[in-house]
Symmetry: C2
Subunit: 209 residues, 2 copies
């Protein structure tokens, strides 16, 4: 992907750099895509650019929670590009109601346009990496998806439940929509969080009685 | 760094995960540290969290502009953690006036506290990587510094000069403070930008005549 062999690069170096910079300037727009989740201090909603940084850091720190066959550097590369399609397609909250098939189609068109700004060899490599992430079948993609799901849970726990009450999320929904995916890639991590999640729902239940 | 061998890990896995998550929650504060530079559309000032994502992506895309002995994955790891000290020390604009030695001391104390939240083996590894970045002597660190310097230049070019007029930056200052560092790690990249920078200063000079 990086350090592309010379023979795979386009002929004119100046054109290549121009295409790379055009892609990077377009990517800047991800900082203006807002997510449902807030910062850990609850001060404002998080954007998808800073979210992408945070979960790449999650992967670096929590890499020892992954299975032995996971390549953390590939996971980080995936996480750096995983949300770029949101520049065109927007962010869909995991607990929101939306047409998943229609959204997937919009994201496919977005991927073609955005990765298509890169020089052809890189466009192909980045697209393949994003497709691998989306398919969530390889060990690297499974771990990347775990990390992507776990960060909002922690943001919500840090802000007294965060967006869970607004979306009417139940412990059972959290287990199905989030827990199963986190546990698939990082079981010990989900166990550690499960204690905190159960405590939050138990406290909320008694406060509502 | 990630995938730490078992014998280097602390005894209790739950304590280890708790320390890792405490570090990651603390890291969230980097999203509230504002930089002098704006987003590429000029709509607001950029924060150091989203900046860290953007330059990690820069490294991934522009990796083929690096010397052959540069390991892009190590560069990306460096860039993901390079600004964490700003949580305590704040961001110092490259064109601002501040006491560099005093700032360096504050950053040393910040590094001890923030990386010290991690399990001991990771605290040591992350600190060593940050020290390497700061020293800017190895090929990986030299390229990482180039990338860190080049992104604000592009943000300024995209926003009609951005913060250059406010800081009274001249073409000569840009060449000394930024150009020399970018060219050290990525000469072709600086050449490509030099054309656009010269055009901007030439246009500004005629508009002020």
């Amino acid at each position: 992907m990086a350090n592309t062999p010379l023979d795979k690069r386009s002929a004119a170096p100046a054109d290549r750099i121009a295409a790379q910079l055009a892609f990077l300037t377009e990517a800047c727009k991800l900082k203006s895509v807002l997510r449902a989740t807030t910062l850990c201090d609850g001060s404002r909603r998080e954007n998808s650019g800073e979210h992408s940084w945070h979960i790449a850091l999650y992967a670096l720190v929590l890499g020892d929670q992954a299975q032995a066959d996971v390549n953390i550097d590939r996971v980080i590369r995936m996480l750096l590009i995983h949300d770029l399609v949101e520049i065109d397609a927007g962010d869909m909250p995991v607990h929101g109601t939306h047409d998943a098939a229609a959204q997937a189609q919009i994201e496919q068109i977005a991927a073609r346009r955005i990765f298509g700004l890169l020089p052809p060899d890189q466009a192909q490599d980045f697209r393949a990496l994003w497709d691998e992430f989306e398919a969530a079948e390889t060990p690297d993609a499974i771990f990347a998806k775990s990390i992507d799901r776990v960060q909002p849970v922690i943001a919500n726990l840090e802000t007294g439940g965060g967006t869970w009450p607004a979306y009417g999320v139940t412990a059972a929904q959290l287990e199905t929509r989030v827990g199963a995916k986190v546990a698939r890639g990082a079981p010990a991590l989900w166990s550690a969080l499960k204690h905190r999640i159960d405590a939050w729902f138990a406290a909320r239940a008694s406060s509502l009685e």
